[in-house]
Symmetry: C2
């Protein structure tokens, strides 16, 4: 049996050991590795995860450290879904519509032709059931998905020739990937995909007749305004929302305060990118119009827009028939758009149209 004095000393030592252990526990550093789809130093898009990681590290007093590998490092820009799912990376920064080949219903969480604008879509995500539907799609793959930053309305693209009628779309060779390419193909265009580094030369040498990229925020540095005279307003990506994704096990390992720090940092970084994009587009558009006054900004004629819309709606009807989950998401979006667009029409749209005079 231990003597009382020994017991006292032992208890004091044990208490002391516990006290020493406590701060070490409190200061445990959690490290997350993130893969982004973008190349190193990609502006605006690449700024969003870095803004997020900086906020998270500072708010957590260094307890949450997120390192970001660009595609130059991991070499798999379109492998982010698989790498995060497998736990090779804890997090990803990408865009949901890139995964439609693997999981068709992921298409609907980025932006849709003739769909919602950025504030309308954020309202759908956060108040109209969008987050719940995204969780329904991603939870099967052991992933959490969150809005990751909005580009705002993307431009319709750079064209070598003016589009005056539906006839001009026939045989048009255009770099336009994804669902919007399917819509254009229905009207006789030939959508192609070409690596970013070859786009300028392809457009200059007329290997392609047109291309879409993002908008002035990112188009300026690509130099397309130097070689294509027509810049069309947008219809196909009215509010492109990038994506933060997290492996569910990596998320579950975080204590509750760090989960909240991560959630809020992602949410803020997403909104911040929307505002950053808005600023960069405004600033760069001014540069383009000042330095290249011959660039003509055009909108597609009414009959072209109407045909694009019809083709779009037909494709969506097919997709809804193929997949009950797609049907559920598309109906949620269509219903919400109807309600929210009425408000946009009598608020921002009425305001912008009235003061233009």
């Amino acid at each position: 049996m231990m003597s009382l004095s020994k017991l006292t000393r032992w208890a004091a030592a044990a208490a002391c050991a516990l006290a020493i252990a406590a701060p070490a526990q409190a200061e445990k550093v959690y490290r997350l590795k993130m893969a982004e789809t973008w190349p190193t130093n990609f502006p605006v898009f690449g700024d969003a995860p870095r803004n997020m990681a900086a906020m998270a590290e500072k708010m957590s007093n260094g307890r949450l450290k997120i390192t970001i590998d660009s595609k130059n490092k991991h070499k798999a820009p379109l492998g982010v879904f698989d790498m995060v799912r497998a736990g090779q990376y804890d997090m990803g920064h990408s865009a949901s519509y890139y995964w439609k080949g693997k999981v068709p219903a992921t298409l609907y969480f980025t932006t849709m032709p003739f769909g919602m604008t950025a504030p309308e879509q954020y309202a759908w995500f956060y108040h109209g059931g969008g987050m719940e539907l995204m969780e329904k799609v991603y939870s099967k793959y052991n992933l959490l998905s969150f809005p990751g930053g909005n580009t705002g309305n993307q431009m319709g693209g750079w064209f070598q020739k003016e589009i005056t009628s539906l006839e001009d779309l026939k045989g048009l060779k255009m770099r336009i990937p994804g669902f919007a390419g399917e819509v254009l193909a229905k009207l006789g265009a030939s959508p192609t995909n070409i690596p970013a580094g070859e786009l300028y030369t392809a457009l200059e040498r007329r290997t392609i007749d047109a291309l879409e990229w993002v908008g002035p925020s990112l188009d300026l540095r690509m130099g397309f305004h130097k070689i294509a005279p027509y810049y069309y307003t947008g219809w196909h990506e009215p509010a492109t929302e990038l994506q933060f994704m997290i492996n569910k096990r990596a998320w579950d390992r975080l204590p509750a305060d760090l989960q909240e720090i991560l959630r809020v940092a992602m949410r803020t970084a997403a909104y911040d990118m929307y505002i950053h994009s808005y600023h960069e587009s405004a600033k760069n558009l001014e540069i383009i119009e000042k330095d290249y006054p011959n660039v003509k900004i055009r909108s597609f004629p009414e009959d072209v827009m109407a045909a694009l819309r019809t083709a779009n709606d037909e494709l969506l009807t097919e997709k809804a028939k193929e997949d009950p989950l797609a049907k559920e998401i598309l109906e949620s979006q269509a219903n919400y758009l109807k309600t929210v667009r009425r408000w946009t029409d009598i608020s921002d749209k009425a305001y912008l149209n009235s003061i233009a005079q």
Copy 2:
């Protein structure tokens, strides 16, 4: 001289005491008291500071606790500036333009007639020099000021009679406080201010001919749609941004991680309120139009809008002459608006106009 064994024991005890002190220090709870301008349970506006406080408390694991007193408690809805400045409260949630009687340059950090939309104005705050100008105005008063949530475009108001010409503004008795009231007064209207609780009766009994409140998000519960047939689209508050303010000494007392938690929580809560307002306006407008199909939504005629704009610009020219700081802010806003509106025109505006057909 202390024996070696005594010294060892003393050192061990001292180390142990330090170790025990450390977690206590790390877990120090910082309590901030906030006064809001709004009454208890005021929707949307009042949700913003509560969303902020909940995020801050959760992210800090309980180390940052913010309690909020509504105007029902502190009885001084327009005393928030003075109370936070004096340190009676650490923080406030209000709107910058309420302080124009004390500090004229505070007028420009909420919204301006014919001014920027919400994303344009956030871009000005965060990328166009707005935050720096706001700091310049508020730092003299020992205060920090941050965006505190946006209502989106506010409606022009509820009218008993249709406005078909400038003549109809002459003698019009309208509840419209602040700078917009000054603009209307130049055109012969009689702006008045009436407490919120008396507005419904005043409009019903024709004590006033018209009133503006916010938009469908908050107008629905006021019931104005039951007693006034005309609902006009907005011109005078295109992007009303509320305000978080903090006493500088209270801010300086916080450790760096809690300052960042507070900054990010305020930033997110502000954006979140913009999206929340958007949703509530859309939802409530649908209810108004469904239940009261006789409500007529109108925009002011072109000549009325042009006259409002001229009166507005004349008043701003006067204000710029009186105060060099006002001049600096107004020039910054006008220059930024010119650049950013061009982008809005070819992005969201072109998109919204094109797909309406």
